[in-house]
Subunit: 419 residues, 2 copies
């Protein structure tokens, strides 16, 4: 069987599985999710053995310590995967929810109902916990899932999927509801995202290069974010104490994630007062490298000079680009030009400035007087997150269970015909 | 300027225009739409002259009478375009609507707000009224639009767009909110749908080959339907009188449209009673060519034998494929295999059969005891329609104003930082 045939076969199996999934009641899905969690814990040793083989290979290939940490499955990580499944089991099932319902003058009743999307492909990198999280969320929403993890984690992912399948099967998990691409052949990703009519949605998770490759190859819809170049704009009417705390949190609380601040914009009216506070707290005390434009460096000469590239940069580390702007409008223009439509904040006590900013910044999530770090499914109260979208269609910002569904219209009449 | 540069320039202008559009109030947009309608009527003679040049060229090139009819702009068609704009002016503006709003335990207020998509490209064929309809709907939802009509209608479309721009400009229509691709070069479509970061959505309207070409070339999201292979399934528990009226309507009321019935499925328990009625009313009286499977032809031998291709066919004329099935389940399987996810109906008085059918048929619109011909924005009460989607993401079924919007999250705090 060629790789193409192999992937088509997976796609066909997933389509069949998705029909079985659509028939499961919410109660049944809950019991399956709980059984999957139990099975993960029961097979803890098998999973750890598989993981140790992945780790050996990774060390032999000279993988960095950070990557090896991501790949490692300790007892506490296995516990937390199981807990994740139990948490998802406890969430409200969106499938079957009535979104709206109305009756036409001719008596037809139109019901717009939430339904599963069908078959979802998840393409991701080294972290094996994504295998479990994504499988749980897709199953909860009655979607069949085809998982394609990084080759470094192939044995760990295999053991996790086996545990989920075995545990779920006892309680009625349909065959092939959760499939893992068995080959590490890179071409498999391309084949997978070209299965038009079988795969309904592809969600790539990982570095920008992985995501760009998926988008370029895909014939099926893709929802993704390339990167998070998040801004905090400190307005002329900002409470500077609040602003400093928010900037510290947005930049330093966890700099390696997509909702961390990368660029600080400061209104010229408060720059001379605010930037020295930033230089002291972030620059000196928290060891953030500050890269400023000319106006910023006139106030804090110790800043590194910023170049045009800095405005586009997603550092993901303790580096911050700093720019002084003459107006809210200039801040908005900067964000709409250099930003990534992810998350951007204004710090201001002026309602006019807040309104202008929230109205005109085109990003998925716009904040007033809060840290951009809140862009997260759990922080939004969604309970779980399959990823974050900076696209404009279907889903924006954190994607939870509802975003893994679509809708259909069910129309009931009593013999109505069109005039 | 190369074609590529020309299209990039249009894309950039559209992005700028979309920012201006997002600032317009609902009241302002209404006055602009009314002014556009007045301008269309005031420039009726200019439009008719342009149209007559298109018609001359079309006749010289040997275009069919049906195509020439579609291309023709009579006074009544111009009136109806103007009325269309006035109707859209009177619809509720979805932009700025709050979809949901909640407060997190930390005090953050999350508001999910409806916003324009941004820049929409519409690619269509010969009918010049699409120019006006699409421009009106995109403008109403504060989206900038780039229109690419068929080359046969280039002069008519140009005159219509000029009328809309001139009328709208007086009341504050932003420059470049409505743009028409001036060249008839086929490559322009490809360039247009590859303007990632500028064009947010492409909607192709027309024949399947146009739509396939757009999908294959696109780097931006596309929403579309390839075709409408709509089924009516007459169940064992059907009221056959109702069933016959619905079948007549679904097949014959307007056979050339995507929501017309193409295949009739009949439960074997009622086939011997129902198919002779179909043969008499549709076959004999209404001149529908019936193409039946073996079981159907055993009952009505005058039917043409159906081949496998017939189950996939979108005839768009007075031809109907007919198949006898042993169960609701078999009907569902047929529809999910051969159908196009457009619109499918069950005729049955059995609640169990209705439920099984509406639950398991995967189409965008599923009917119980009604004609599939109701899949239409106006019939749904949307007031207007930009097209019909058989895709699963973002929009399914008739797409009205709401489907031309997306959402963003506006989050307001008082200094909240993430722990």
């Amino acid at each position: 069987m060629s790789l193409h045939e192999e992937m088509v076969a997976m796609g066909e199996k997933a389509v069949l599985a998705s029909r079985g999934l659509a028939r499961l009641s919410a109660r049944k899905k809950t019991s399956i999710l709980l059984a999957m969690a139990d099975s993960l814990e029961a097979r803890r040793d098998v999973i750890k053995v598989a993981n140790s083989l992945d780790l050996e290979a990774a060390k032999a290939s000279g993988m960095t310590a950070a990557m090896i940490d991501r790949l490692s499955l300790s007892d506490s990580r296995i516990n937390s995967m199981a807990k994740g499944l139990r948490d998802v089991a406890g969430l409200k099932d969106p499938v079957g929810t009535v979104i709206s319902r109305w009756i036409r003058p001719n008596g037809l009743e139109i019901v717009k109902t939430r339904v599963p999307i069908g078959v979802i492909a998840i393409i991701y990198e080294a972290r094996p916990n994504v295998t479990c999280d994504a499988a749980g969320l897709c199953f909860k929403t009655s979607n069949a899932v085809i998982l394609r993890g990084g080759k470094e984690a192939i044995r760990s992912n295999g053991a996790i999927v086996e545990a989920l399948q075995a545990g779920g099967a006892v309680k009625g998990l349909p065959n092939n509801a959760i499939q893992l691409v068995a080959t590490t052949d890179r071409e498999a990703v391309k084949e997978l995202v070209q299965l038009e009519g079988m795969v309904d949605l592809a969600i790539p998770r990982g570095g920008e290069s992985l995501i760009r490759a998926v988008v370029e190859q895909a014939h099926v819809p893709v929802i993704k974010h390339y990167k998070g170049v998040c801004h905090t704009y400190v307005d002329a009417a900002a409470n500077l104490e609040k602003a400093l705390k928010i900037c510290e949190n947005a930049k330093c609380q966890r700099p390696g994630v997509c909702n961390a601040m990368e660029t600080l914009l400061v209104h010229e009216a408060v720059a001379a007062q605010f930037l020295p506070l930033v230089a002291k707290r972030l620059g000196v005390e928290l060891k953030v490298e500050l890269r400023g434009d000319e106006a910023s460096r006139a106030i804090v000469p110790s800043m590194t000079p910023a170049t045009e590239q800095d405005w586009y940069a997603e550092y993901l580390e303790l580096i911050l680009a700093v720019r002084v702007v003459p107006s809210v409008k200039a801040a908005i223009e900067h964000i709409n030009k250099y930003g990534s439509n992810h998350s951007d904040a204004i710090i201001s006590e002026s309602e006019d400035a807040q309104k202008e900013f929230t109205h005109e910044v085109g990003s998925a999530v716009v904040y007033v007087n809060a840290s951009t770090r809140f862009t997260d499914g759990a922080e939004f109260g969604m309970g779980a997150e399959i990823g974050i979208s900076t696209d404009k269609l279907h889903a924006r910002g954190p994607m939870g269970l509802e975003e893994l569904t679509t809708y259909k219209y069910v129309i009931t009449g009593d013999g109505q015909v069109r005039e």
